[in-house]
């Protein structure tokens, strides 16, 4: 956990107005693990005031990649960075995915920009079979950048299966019978809630990367509570205890 100032190497705009920012940051590249995140100060002044959390989408050598779309002011400023501009990074933060469990099949479940952490995770799943279920509201919200074996769902049916990505997953569960499966998920809370139900019902091992408003990103503000299934008297902190949780251990 440190603060580094790293230069932008490349700005890539994918279709759907999704941006990939390539940043030369050996300090982060060498220490970050899939599922961990960075808290980024997008400007060098008080507007916007707070840092913005982003997953690391991928790492290549000394370079890291962030994936985002223009959501509000912070991501707008980020998207307008020029090559050579400084990015003020606080990280690596949080606990990443645990991919050392005993499983032979990895299932990625992602909604919208929830795909962001998976290109990096995929690099660590080389010896596993990977199925990916990728959802979006509409075809333009579906991002499959560096996703392996994607099956697609859209709420409006404009691409792939018509329905939610969790429904799509449920329909396909028979295909993975008799395998040692672990699910890795990231996406909107509504999706994670449905996924949690499914995993509890079918007794599936699942880790989910959760999202919430954050100020500090490293445990000092208490701004990011999430209800724990095990201890109703105390919240967990998304930034420090997560963002990746065993989906059965949190109430989303």
């Amino acid at each position: 956990m440190k603060i580094v100032h790293s230069p932008v190497k490349q700005i890539i705009e994918l279709e759907n107005h999704i941006f990939l920012l390539k940043i030369h940051s050996p300090e982060i590249a060498n220490s970050i693990k899939p599922g961990q995140f960075l808290n980024i100060k997008v400007s060098d002044n008080i507007y916007p005031l707070l840092r913005r959390p982003f997953s690391v989408c991928d790492v290549e050598g000394e370079n890291i990649f962030l994936m985002f779309n223009i959501f509000g002011e912070g991501t707008k400023i980020l998207a307008h960075k020029k090559i050579g501009d400084d990015v003020d990074i606080l990280g690596p933060l949080g606990n990443g995915f645990n991919f050392e469990d005993d499983f032979d099949t990895a299932i990625i479940v992602a909604g919208g920009l929830g795909v962001a952490p998976f290109p990096f995770l995929n690099r660590y799943l080389k010896d596993k079979e990977i199925y990916s279920f990728i959802g979006g509201r509409s075809s333009k919200d579906v991002i499959t950048y560096k996703i392996i074996n994607p099956e697609i769902s859209t709420d409006d049916g404009s691409l792939g299966f018509r329905g939610t990505v969790v429904e799509l997953l449920a329909q396909n569960l028979h295909r993975i019978n008799n395998r040692k499966v672990k699910i890795f998920a990231c996406g909107p809370n509504a999706m994670l809630r449905a996924l949690r139900e499914l995993c509890l019902e079918k007794n599936l091992l699942c880790e989910a990367s959760t999202e919430c408003a954050m100020a500090c990103g490293f445990g000092i503000c208490q701004g990011c509570p999430i209800e724990s299934s095990n201890n109703p008297d105390k919240y967990l902190l998304v930034c420090k205890d997560g963002p990746v949780f065993n989906i059965s251990e949190v109430i989303i």
Binding site: M1, I3, K41, I46, Y47, P48, L49, L50, R51, L90, C212, A213, M214, A215, C216, G217, F218, G219, I220, C221, Q222, G223, C224, P225, I226, E227, D233, K234, Y235, K240
Partner: protein, 306 residues
């Protein structure tokens, strides 16, 4: 090494530097210690401790606003018992004065908390939070009521000989009246300010952005208000003041000291720039050297009015 004398004294509390970390913005010090040199800090003010552990408010607890943020953490904390067992031993690893901030819903609870913690020698002073806007019982009611603040000060004074600092609410018309009663009832110093009551709505869902509805506004946005409060107290009451509110850099520190602060606390800035305390110390040293200021305490209340 620096030739500038950074020592300050706040109502009997002798500190090696005027730079403190504000309550609720550094937890109990664990995480921030990875960024700054705890052993050169003026002091660390703990997250508000209450008698029993508090779970705090449900999410969403924070939201950004123009040059500021709202928070409604709801005084989530481990409670006195765990604080003594778990947190104090950690803090003892460092050579840093600990100021224990206490929150409560009744006068009795303030007294009981202080009594239980008083024998902890690593606690160098108490800061009594009578001004948290984010809890339904106690909190603001206390902080905005002159009599209550007087009673709390008086009763807590009776159970501790350590320096007693009362953290004042800015949500009042005349903060100096509160500083006066703190002084009259035996308090040693005041901290000014806690957060201002604010809110924000999501215009699409029409719900408050913060689950608790109201939150406390902090950050640069409130700096002019905090400065006016510090200045008001300085002009009207002879009591040491710890200035808080929107401090981002060394210039803000100098401004608060000129306005009347003997020391300052860094709050929201820790979230954005966790190395701020060290950076500010270094910058202040340079400023003092180049302006031939030998003792930083000379700055306190050094404003010039025509």
């Amino acid at each position: 090494m620096s030739s500038v004398d950074f020592k300050v004294e706040i109502g009997g509390l002798k500190l090696r530097s005027p730079i403190l970390l504000a309550s609720g913005t550094v937890g109990y010090g664990h995480e921030i210690a990875e960024f700054i040199n705890m052993n050169s800090l003026g002091g660390i003010v703990t997250k508000s401790i209450s008698l029993k552990p508090r779970k705090g408010n449900p999410p969403q607890r924070i939201v950004e606003t123009p040059a500021g943020m709202l928070n409604a953490i709801g005084l989530a904390n481990v409670g006195v018992e765990e604080f003594i067992k778990e947190k104090i031993p950690f803090l003892k690893k460092y050579d840093v004065p600990v100021i224990c901030n206490i929150a409560a819903s009744s006068v009795e609870e303030y007294v009981e908390c202080t009594r239980l913690l008083d024998y902890e020698e690593s606690i160098k002073a108490f800061e009594i939070n009578v001004s948290c806007p984010n809890v339904k019982e106690g909190g603001l009611q206390f902080g905005n009521d002159l009599k209550s603040v007087g009673i709390v000060t008086n009763k807590v004074r009776a159970v501790t000989k350590k320096p007693l600092i009362i953290k004042l609410s800015p949500n009042v018309s005349n903060i100096s009246d509160f500083a006066q009663i703190v002084k009259d009832e035996g308090g040693d110093a005041v901290s000014a300010i806690n957060t201002l009551v604010g809110t924000a709505f999501n215009i699409f869902t029409r719900k408050p952005k913060i689950k608790n509805v109201n939150g406390g506004l902090s950050g640069p946005a409130i700096k002019p208000i905090a400065l006016a409060k510090v200045f008001e107290i300085k002009r009207k009451v002879e009591i040491p003041i710890i200035g808080i509110g929107g401090i981002m850099d060394w210039k803000d520190v100098v401004e608060f000291m000129i306005a009347g602060a003997s020391a300052i606390q860094l709050g929201t800035v820790n979230f954005i720039n966790p190395i701020a305390a060290d950076q500010i110390k270094k910058d202040l040293e340079e400023y003092c050297v180049s302006n031939k200021i030998q003792k930083i305490s000379e700055l306190t209340g050094s404003y010039i009015l025509e």
